[in-house]
Structures are given as structure tokens and as C-alpha cells.
């Protein structure tokens, strides 16, 4: 099967700190990939390099056969690689609905629709409907209808996360990178939220990479897992194989065990 995204030999260091060391990963189309690893293991650096926020010191990244290593974030976004953030990046002075319109507006502009001389309400490319309708549809899919007219600033943390991800849907991403989509959300809610995200995203037919610390969430939703440790990928394969790998158990899951315990405790109670 052809890889939609292919990272080869990525290296990145900040001074004496190695954030990525010989990262190789070929991501297949329509797959759902979980990225695991302790904080500082290189997961976010990996995402930052793919989305153009950081340039790797060495190595190349190919997307649909095209070298995207040197593209700016906006150009990478335009060709279909979108991301969400650990700390949601929203327009805090605008409402959830206006946030969506802003995202859709950019999509329209990039496609040359809705410009100065256009008449009426043109459809958003890829969505086949005017921006106002698409905005409401996406908000509904992410369960955000009740927050539609609230300022992003005053939304609860979990809702901000969802809106951050909903914003990426404006561009109809082919690859979606989710940086800790369920962080700051209670253990019980994690599954509900991931379920909702996955349903919404899979409906669009996007390839998904997500960073997650909860191994139950990972094994439930990921088809494939990349385990990061110290800037390297130490294991790569199906959730069962990776999560039972001796090194992964020692370096990655070990660090997350307490989370599992908490979860168990909650389930037993």
C-alpha cells in the first residue's frame, strides 16, 4: 500500500538537546496512527517538523510523493496536512461560530472563491455549501452547538480542544495531526471525545496521527502505534505488539502506568 506521508532520516537538535534522531516513518493512507512516549520524547517535534513549524536539520518529508520539507506551515496546510494544538489556538475574541467562519473564509480564499467581485453566497470548496451552513454543520458534528455564540475565551478547556480540532475540518484535511486531543479531559470523557473526533474525522476520510498518553485510548483507536523515546522511534507496529514490547514497557508505558492505575481504580469504584 502506498504511503501518503513518508518521513526519512529526520534529525533535529536544539543546542545540546536532541529532539529527533533518525526518525523514519511511512504513514499509509486512511490509517489511524497513535504516537506515544513520555514528555520530551519527540512526539511534538515530529508533528512540528511535518507541519513546517520546525525545519529538520537533516532528512526529508514527502507527502503524496512531493517533498514538503521546506514548505511554510500555511503551504503545508493548504495541500491538506492540518493539525490541532496541545494548547488550543483559537481566536479568543470571536465566537465559536465566527472561529469556524474565519477558517472557512481562508479555505475559500485559497481556492479563489468568495473574493471581491463574487456575488451571493458561494459554496465552500470541498463542502459544497455556503460557509454559514458548513460552520453550523461542523459545530454540530463536534457537539458544539450549545457553544456556537459564546466567545472562545470563555469556553471550558475540553470544548476549546474540540473547537481547535473542528477548525481543522474547515480545510478538509487529508492528514490530520492531533497533538494530545484529550489532555485536560477527565478519564471517563476521553473515550466519548475520542469517539466523537474519530467519527467526525473518519467521515471525511482523513488519515489521522494522534498523540496520546492513555494507553487504553491508544489501543482502542489506533491501528498502528509509533513509540518515541529520547528522540527516536523505538517501536512501530500494531498496538498489541508495540504495547507489549519490552523497551516500550520500560521507557514509555512505565511512565504512564499511574494513569492506568487511576483508570482501574475509577472503574472498580
Amino acid at each position: 500500500m502506498a504511503a501518503i506521508l513518508d518521513a526519512k532520516g529526520l534529525n533535529k537538535s536544539f543546542g545540546a538537546v536532541t529532539a529527533a534522531s533518525d526518525i523514519n516513518a511511512a504513514i499509509e493512507q486512511d490509517s489511524v496512527v497513535g504516537l506515544i512516549g513520555t514528555n520530551g520524547a519527540g512526539k511534538t517535534t515530529f508533528i512540528n517538523m511535518i507541519t513546517g513549524y520546525l525545519k529538520p536539520d537533516r532528512g526529508r518529508i514527502h507527502y503524496e510523493g512531493r517533498d514538503i520539507t521546506d514548505l511554510a506551515p500555511r503551504d503545508i496546510t493548504r495541500i491538506g496536512i492540518c493539525r490541532s494544538f496541545q494548547i488550543p489556538q483559537l481566536y479568543s475574541s470571536l465566537t465559536a461560530y465566527e472561529n469556524m467562519l474565519m477558517g472557512l473564509g481562508v479555505v475559500m480564499r485559497n481556492a479563489g472563491v468568495g473574493g471581491f467581485f463574487s456575488r451571493g453566497r458561494p459554496n465552500v470548496p470541498g463542502h459544497g455549501r455556503p460557509a454559514e451552513e458548513v460552520a453550523d454543520a461542523i459545530l454540530e458534528r463536534f457537539g458544539l452547538v450549545e457553544y456556537r455564540d459564546k466567545n472562545a475565551q470563555v469556553l471550558p478547556g475540553g470544548v476549546r480542544k474540540l473547537l481547535d480540532i473542528a477548525l481543522t475540518m474547515a480545510a478538509k484535511p487529508k492528514i490530520l495531526l492531533l497533538d494530545e486531543p484529550t489532555s485536560g479531559v477527565s478519564a471517563e470523557e476521553k473515550f466519548v471525545i475520542m469517539e466523537m473526533i474519530m467519527k467526525a474525522v473518519r467521515a471525511e476520510g482523513a488519515t489521522v496521527l494522534f498523540v496520546e498518553h492513555d494507553m487504553e485510548v491508544v489501543s482502542r483507536f489506533a491501528q498502528r502505534v509509533l513509540a518515541f523515546y529520547d528522540g527516536r522511534i523505538i517501536a512501530d507496529g500494531s498496538p498489541d505488539t508495540v504495547l507489549s514490547d519490552r523497551e516500550v514497557k520500560r521507557f514509555v508505558v512505565g511512565g504512564e502506568l499511574h494513569r492506568l492505575d487511576e483508570k482501574q481504580g475509577a472503574a472498580n469504584a
Binding site: 500555511r74 483559537l90 481566536y91 477558517g103 481562508v106 480564499r109 468568495g114 471581491f116
Partner: protein, 311 residues
């Protein structure tokens, strides 16, 4: 969803101006025309302020517009008022296009300071250029409209007609532009540039375009001011002139394209009335007004209208 009333309000204002013009005293026509000229500059600053940028050097383009109009008359005896204004607009826009490559990279206080420096460069050049009258400037040729020079008592009214129509068209175009995806990006840039980039848009490009539009409007306003006043001098590029434009922008608020013209008119009235009553305290009145608006009406006088409409 409410329908867009701005074009109709603008149209109504235009009709009132044209109809009432002949019955208004000459000094009032002059006051309104100058307000329209300054309003054009402020309209440009409104676009920039929506992006979160405050230019402390917009007088640069106002002055460029005015001097372009003045020089065309002086060197080539061009006197068509529309030609002069459009020429001022084009020269200002081209200058801004070039400078924009640099300025679009700056934000916050540094954008303000660099635009200030550039405007002061022009001031420094003009104030020492003897052929252009140094700090005294020079008189601008009386202008004509489509080759006709109206009778003396109708000159001011004729200029008002031109100014009103030009301002009306400019306001309509800007109003429409602000609704396009590129124009509506401004608050997003002000709010969160990272998100703008990760939606696939270039904040720098959008700012560059907005900067050129703002300069074009300032050039247009400068050309209009030159033909209205009949005299130009380097003070038009000085920082106090830029300060005045920012003053009006803050006073008016960024809520509507009508606000800049209204703000400029109120400014003109305060200035004239306060100056007449007490020439030594009019700046104090202005300063107090600015302070009050910043503290009590952070979104400008326009928010008063909005609030009333909402209730």
C-alpha cells in the same frame, strides 16, 4: 440575519451632503471637505487597526498624496481634480507596496516606530528642499473638474461634490473588501497569527495588502486636502499629523466604514469650536476626549450607535 444597511446609510449621507451643500456656509463646506479628506486616511487606519496595527506614520502617505497633486500642477500644469487625487493615490500605493515588504514583518510598537521613522524621513527631506519651498511649502494651482472651473462662489461646493462622491465610493469598496475572506482575516491576525498560518493563510501577505490599501486611501485624502486647502507644506508628514489621524481612528472606532468620516467631522468640529472659544485649550479638550474614549469607549464613538441600535 440582519441585512447590510451600511450601503444605504452611505447613500443617504451622500444625498444629504449634495443636497444641503449649496445652502451651507462656505466655512462649513470647507470643514466637511477636510473631514472627508481626513476620513479617507482614517478609513485606511481602520483597516490596519483591525489587524492590530497602529501606524504612527500614516502622514507619510497623506503628504505623498498632497505633494504629488501639488507637483503635477506645478511641473506639468495638470489641474483636473480627479486626476490629481488619483495620481496621489497611485504614488502613495506604489510607495507602500515597496515599503510593505519591510513593514509587513513588524508588529506592535515596532510597526508603529518604523512607520514613524519613514514618515519623518520624508519630512526631513521636504523641510530642507528649497525648490519645494522648504518648511513653508507652496501653493497648489486652482483645480478644475473635467476641464471646467466653476464660478468662485461654487468652487467650494464643486470640491465638496467631488470629495463626497470619492469618499462614498471608497467607503463602499472598503466595506465590501472587509467582507471578503482576505479582508475579514484582519481580526484573526490581531487575535492569533499562529492559527492564521495553520489555516493556510499568510498573515504577512494580508497585512501587506492592507498596508497598500491604507496608503492608497491616505494618498487620496492627501490629494483632496491639497486641492481643497490650496497649500501644502512638510508639516503634512510630521508626526503630529500622524498623531491626529490615529486620534480620529481611536475616537471613531473600527465598527463601521462610516465611523472614520463621522470621527473626522467630530474632530473638525471640536477643533474649530474649541479653537474659537479658547485658542489655548483646544488641545486640552482633544486630549481629554481621547483619554475618555480610550477609558470609557474602547471601541470608539461608533459603539454608541451600535448599542442604541441593539436596544
Amino acid at each position: 440575519m440582519t441585512s447590510d444597511r451600511t450601503p444605504r446609510i452611505l447613500g443617504a449621507i451622500l444625498v444629504v451632503l449634495l443636497a444641503a451643500g449649496p445652502f451651507v456656509p462656505q466655512w462649513a463646506i470647507f470643514l466637511i471637505t477636510i473631514a472627508l479628506a481626513k476620513g479617507l486616511v482614517v478609513l485606511g487606519l481602520l483597516i490596519l487597526l483591525r489587524c492590530g496595527l497602529v501606524s504612527f506614520g500614516q502622514a507619510l502617505y497623506y503628504c505623498i498624496g498632497a505633494y504629488t497633486a501639488g507637483m503635477l500642477g506645478r511641473l506639468f500644469e495638470v489641474d483636473g481634480v480627479l486626476t490629481l487625487m488619483l495620481a496621489g493615490m497611485v504614488v502613495a500605493a506604489v510607495t507602500a507596496y515597496v515599503l510593505g515588504f519591510l513593514l509587513a514583518r513588524y508588529r506592535g510598537i515596532f510597526f508603529g516606530l518604523l512607520s514613524l521613522a519613514v514618515s519623518m524621513i520624508l519630512y526631513g527631506l521636504l523641510v530642507k528642499s528649497e525648490t519645494l519651498g522648504s518648511s513653508d511649502g507652496f501653493n497648489v494651482l486652482p483645480s478644475t473638474l473635467f476641464g471646467i472651473r466653476p464660478a468662485d462662489e461654487w468652487v467650494r461646493y464643486a470640491v465638496l461634490v467631488v470629495a463626497s462622491v470619492v469618499a462614498f465610493v471608497a467607503a463602499l469598496l472598503v466595506h465590501r473588501y472587509l467582507k471578503t475572506p482576505l479582508g475579514s482575516l484582519a481580526p484573526a491576525i490581531k487575535d492569533n497569527e499562529i492559527r492564521v498560518e495553520y489555516m493556510g493563510a499568510s498573515a504577512r501577505y494580508a497585512i501587506h495588502v492592507n498596508y497598500v490599501i491604507a496608503a492608497a486611501l491616505a494618498g487620496l485624502g492627501g490629494g483632496l486636502a491639497a486641492t481643497t486647502v490650496g497649500h501644502i507644506d512638510p508639516e503634512m508628514a510630521y508626526w503630529t499629523t500622524s498623531g491626529e489621524f490615529i486620534f480620529i481612528t481611536i475616537l471613531a472606532g473600527t465598527g463601521s466604514v462610516i465611523a472614520p468620516f463621522l470621527g473626522a467631522l467630530i474632530f473638525g468640529i471640536i477643533q474649530t469650536v474649541a479653537f474659537d472659544i479658547s485658542p489655548n485649550t483646544w488641545q486640552m479638550v482633544l486630549g481629554g476626549a481621547l483619554l475618555a474614549v480610550i477609558v470609557f469607549l474602547p471601541t470608539g464613538l461608533w459603539s454608541l450607535f451600535r448599542r442604541r441600535r441593539a436596544t
